[in-house]
Each structure stands twice: as structure tokens, then as C-alpha cells.
């Protein structure tokens, strides 16, 4: 069974280390906040100007002046701080954010990522994604392994306009966990009940398989 979105988030949450400052993108990455392991302290950065993002508010406590980069109403945790967008991207560029988790439309075997534009179809803009991928020390992509047509999103080279080059370190898809290595996508784990064969079939880019590939456990 491929992972649910929640499971992808849950698996990514295991990559968190105590003391990390983390930026979570829109979509599946946002869900990672729900699965932070016991005993692990992380601080969530929202690039619109907040360190110390908390959970969504309860009804009636929404504050229009307090949103995340996905424009969702949020709350803060004790020790939070607000700042302007220049400082926000300043700390991102300076490598102070330990981990960035974001979605992708395509990732290439050398770590390029495309997630902001489909020529002739979609022109929403890159938002902060280009800044994040250009500077983050550690980038994990959360995405479906294939697009709705069943085509692989892990490619030899991206077809869509790039967001950043040679920057993705790890991918957690609905089928597998893979590292981006100089040799290509290195398969680390597979979703429960998903065969290595299926992952091979659905990975268009170069796939490196060494030894036994264990199933993820939830």
C-alpha cells in the first residue's frame, strides 16, 4: 500500500533532530508538524516572518494578523518571534534553518527540483521556494512518486522550469524513501507492501539499489 499523505509526513518527521529549526512548505510538509517525535524539540519557521509557529487556532481564536506562509491562520508557541521578510530570508540564506521540507512536481536524479510553474498552464509564482532551495542545508521533498497520469516524477532531468539546481537531499514519496546521491536516487526504504520492482518501474531517473530494502513501519 502506498503511504497516505499523513504517513509521508509521519515518515519525514523521523528525520527531525532535537534542536532543529525547520521550514515546512505548503501541503504535505505542513502535516509534518503533527508527527514530531516525543522528546524532539524543533522550532518551526514560517518565511512570512515567524519563528515558533504553533498549531492551528481553535474556532473563534483565528487572528487575521497571524498566518503562515500558506496564508492559514495559526498560533504561536512560547519563545516565538516575529520579524520582517528580509530577516526571514536572511536567516534562510545564512543557513540558520536546519531543514526545509517542501513539495515538488519533479525531482531529477542530480537533485534539481521543479515546483513552481507549468508553462502555458499554471503561473502562480515561486513564492519563497527558490530562496529556500538555494540556501537550505538540508532539503527533503515530500511528494507522490508519480503524477495523476501515472508518470514518474523522479526523472533523469526535470522537464518543467526549475526551482533550484542540485539541492534536494532526500525524497519521501508515497512509495519510498530515497537519497539523492552522486550516483542517482538511492532507494533506502519502501512503503509497506510496495515492491522494489514497482518502485523501479515508477522511477524514471537512475535508481540505485544496494542490499535489502526494508519496509517502513508505522
Amino acid at each position: 500500500m502506498p503511504l497516505t499523505k499523513e504517513q509521508i509526513a509521519q515518515r519525514i518527521a523521523r528525520e527531525l533532530r532535537d534542536g532543529y529549526y525547520v521550514n515546512l512548505g505548503i501541503g504535505i510538509p505542513t502535516l509534518v508538524a503533527n508527527y514530531i517525535p516525543e522528546g524532539i524539540n524543533v522550532v518551526l519557521q514560517s518565511e512570512n516572518g515567524l519563528l515558533g509557529m504553533g498549531p492551528f487556532p481553535i474556532e473563534g481564536e483565528e487572528d487575521p494578523d497571524l498566518i503562515n506562509a500558506g496564508k492559514q491562520t495559526i498560533t504561536t508557541v512560547p519563545g516565538s518571534a516575529f520579524f520582517d521578510s528580509a530577516m526571514s530570508f536572511g536567516m534562510i540564506r545564512a543557513g540558520k534553518v536546519d531543514l526545509t521540507v517542501l513539495g515538488a512536481m519533479e525531482v531529477s536524479e542530480n537533485g534539481d527540483i521543479a515546483n513552481w510553474k507549468i508553462p502555458g498552464k499554471m503561473v502562480k509564482g515561486m513564492g519563497g521556494a527558490m530562496d529556500l532551495v538555494a540556501s537550505a542545508k538540508n532539503i527533503i521533498v515530500a511528494m507522490m512518486h508519480t503524477n495523476p497520469k501515472g508518470e514518474s516524477k523522479l526523472l533523469p532531468r526535470c522537464v518543467l522550469p526549475l526551482t533550484g539546481v542540485k539541492c534536494v537531499r532526500k525524497i519521501v514519496s508515497d512509495l519510498a524513501v530515497l537519497d539523492v546521491t552522486p550516483q542517482g536516487f538511492k532507494l533506502l526504504e519502501r512503503a509497506p507492501g510496495v515492491s522494489v520492482e514497482e518502485i523501479k518501474m515508477k522511477t524514471a531517473g537512475k535508481l540505485v539499489i544496494e542490499g535489502e530494502i526494508l519496509e517502513m513501519k508505522f
Binding site: 515567524l50 498549531p55 481553535i58 492559514q72 491562520t73
Partner: protein, 235 residues
Amino acid sequence: MNKTVTDAQEAIRDIHDGAILMLGGFGLCGIPENCIAALVTKGVKRLTCISNNAGVDDFGIGLMLQHKQVKKMISSYVGENAEFERQLLSGELEVELIPQGTLATRCMAAGYGMPAIFTPAGVGTEVATGKETRTFNGKDYLLEYAFDADFAIIKAWKGDTDGNLVYKETARNFNPLMAMAGKVTIAEVEELVPAGQLDPNNIHTPGIYVHRIFRGKNYQKRIEQRTIRKVNQSK
């Protein structure tokens, strides 16, 4: 150094057709609602708008798009805005999409008298097209120029008559950066107090950057993505 004007109409009195404007806010959070309404009423045209987003169809800069007042948008994310998309595809609207951090830093550069800055955002992408690339310590950066805007129109939480400003929570975003960057900076605030009532340690934008200030009215402060959790849900 009293900078107060009576209202939005007076504050934007000399904004002319073809002007280059910066407009603060992130999504609909911290946008200068009063000034946008006044610009729509005034009907000024062919504007270039530097703003992280373009509002929604019927609010924020979306209102100016509806009235076809905008010639060019410089933004990082233009989100869900059908009229925007229609004008873009029909060629009525010119759009320059740039990385959010680049947008922020180009504002700051203007306010800090720095003609250009270096950022790695966009290296190796179409954003880099035609731009100078330079390598420092083995990493590539793009040279990006400071913005040159005629007016910066921003929204703060509190302000004093000298133009000192304080922002609330994430409504800060681009506002203090644009405040520094405009040749003329217009600030609308929810609360306007006499000079001396704000704590000088906690001023986000010193009054030297602000030319006109007024207390805004009837703030809607719309929420784009109202997201809540159940009371008994921990996260």
C-alpha cells in the same frame, strides 16, 4: 515633525498615472486597505505594483486589477485570482515573478542605500536569465538591483504623529522593508498616537522613513485560509 494627514484620499493625492508603487502585505495580511480603496476611487491608471501578492478577486490589489488600473505586477506569488490570470493570459497585464526573498531584499537594499545585492535564489533557473552571475566561495549568486519606487504604501498596527511605526505579528512581513524603500512613504495605521507614546526601543520603522501617516478606518482584515483545529486536538 508631524506627518499626519487626514485620510487615505489626502495621503495618495499626488499618486499619478504610470507611478511605480510598492504595496505592503503578505496575502491579505497587513495590506493597506484604505489606500487601495482610495486608489480605486481615484481611478489612477497604468500603475506598476510591487507587492508580494496580488490580492484575491474582490479584495486587496485584486480590486485594482478589476478596475484595470495595473499595467505591471512585480510579485512572488499571485495565487488564486481569476481576474489576474485572465488579464495575464490576454496580455493586458505584464507580470514579473521573482523569488520572495529577492523581493524582500531588493526593498531593503533601496532603504539601506545599497544599489544591488547578491542572492543565490534563482541561480540555474529562468529567473537568472539575463542576470549577472558571480561566484563567491564556490557558490553562485545573482546580482539583483534595488527597487526604485515612487511611492511605498504600507499598513502598520500603531503609529505616532512623527511617523514611527509598529507592526503586529505576521502583518509585519514586507511593510517595514517597503516603508524604507519609497521615495514617498505613506503609512496607514489602526491606532495613531501622539509622538512619545510608543516605546522607542520597540519601533519597527523609524519615522525618518515615513512621509505621511493617517489612521485607517473600517478594516476588514479578511482571512484567506481560515484553518482551525478541534478543541480537543493537540495539534
